[in-house]
Symmetry: D2
Subunit: 158 residues, 4 copies
Amino acid sequence: MAKILIAYYSKGGSVKKMAKFVEDGVKESGVDVVLKTVEDVAADELIQYDGFIFGSPTYYGQMAAQVKKLLDDSVILHGRLEGRIGGAFTSAGNIGGGNETTILSILQAFMIHGMVVQGTSKNDHYGPVAIGAPDKRAERQCVDLGKRIAKLVKKLCQ
Amino acid sequence: MAKILIAYYSKGGSVKKMAKFVEDGVKESGVDVVLKTVEDVAADELIQYDGFIFGSPTYYGQMAAQVKKLLDDSVILHGRLEGRIGGAFTSAGNIGGGNETTILSILQAFMIHGMVVQGTSKNDHYGPVAIGAPDKRAERQCVDLGKRIAKLVKKLCQ
Amino acid sequence: MAKILIAYYSKGGSVKKMAKFVEDGVKESGVDVVLKTVEDVAADELIQYDGFIFGSPTYYGQMAAQVKKLLDDSVILHGRLEGRIGGAFTSAGNIGGGNETTILSILQAFMIHGMVVQGTSKNDHYGPVAIGAPDKRAERQCVDLGKRIAKLVKKLCQ
Amino acid sequence: MAKILIAYYSKGGSVKKMAKFVEDGVKESGVDVVLKTVEDVAADELIQYDGFIFGSPTYYGQMAAQVKKLLDDSVILHGRLEGRIGGAFTSAGNIGGGNETTILSILQAFMIHGMVVQGTSKNDHYGPVAIGAPDKRAERQCVDLGKRIAKLVKKLCQ
């Protein structure tokens, strides 16, 4: 039975809200999902999941150190997550504020684990971006991301 | 019947050699493959393929203008390549010479088409890099890339 | 006497409008400036300028092929632009639409020429982004970019 | 009197060795330099320096979490480091192993602080990369980076 982990770091609450919208999308697709803060995820626990959707605020153009720590710790599983699915989302202070590079920083880490990632031809191509708290546009994109990752997990990991 | 396009631009011949190694990998996997220079590919022809593996020399840290032109022209198919598979490889003058950003420039373009891309936990994580002409190490990675993309095409596009 | 080149590619007109705002910023700073489309710039002409501000629409997450062609052609000056100044701006279809990666694709090319680039702690950190036609926010940032590059040119190249 | 901070995180020792070579380059240029591990740098201390050269191992294609933590903490100085100078270096496991994206992750953070960064037309364009322990090639590039940043600091910050 496929299972997706949504792990996020949120200080102001915007990323947490986005995480819940992403969770809605996964659930609608009928895939099991666990929602946690990155601080509550132990690196060796990652082996249990088929898909990973990480959320982070945009801090200096990359994921927050707390999210990076989990990824650095995940080296104990290096090579064993090959072929699993990854996605990312972020909340940023403003439009050109480093949001794309933040999402790509997470996706690149997933690729280095040998994971599969997917863009979208619509809206935020690399992953959902909220400017501050998520508006309707960001909400819809988060739900879509959840569905997109769930669909890939079902096709590639079951 | 799934089909993969390998399209490349090569001036000195290194990228062309890599393209043939990638082709070997696809063929070994039993997936149909077409090998062409980017100049010989018409944008509307891209609709016929399930997977795309683009090769470019590293020119100022991104794909060559000739490769970019094909991608720019592919806007006529925007939205219709969603869910297809993409991969990339490059030959560069030296180690920190812009090779990773070149490969990522192609993968990002594919993601904006809504495509699926995959890294690898071994060796060149984003895609194969040759320093100058491809050595045995680069050859092996190119074959692996062909196999990796063929495997995804078979799982996701047939 | 220091001189800055603003070179842009514009199809719909948004990037051209941004280019003119950038020009205003350079002029206010009292530095000579030439404004041209990339098609009107010959690569060997680049040797005459101390600063370069390139503008491009966001096409598949990188600069347009027309802009890339000029940069590829500029290899005839490789090593001779070391220490000069570079900046970039873009117009994109939507927020997470590849605008940051477009600006960074230009800045990375400039860095490979050995140039100096600068971010800003305010607004669009890597360079000005307009969503569609430039609004007041984008206009102000374009003027600021012109001033920022002019200031660096005056300090480093006169 | 201008002063440069070299801050690094090193587990295996390769990045530490690179840091010392960078220090040599700064010293040769006659600029004051402080060499510290990132764990020994308090964020508010950054205000004292004119130039920053950060070193990190390549961990999943970005700077180590320890380096990111210092940058995240530096938000207390946001806007006050505008116009200062930044550079970066890394040690990676292999050629396409995420080293360029690691260096760019640091340079992008510096740009978001409004800092000035510079590439080089020779060798590793974004910053020095060692594959494992630094060889002669990496050593020379580290010394060059120290000199390059020192030169910019002298021109822009004194």
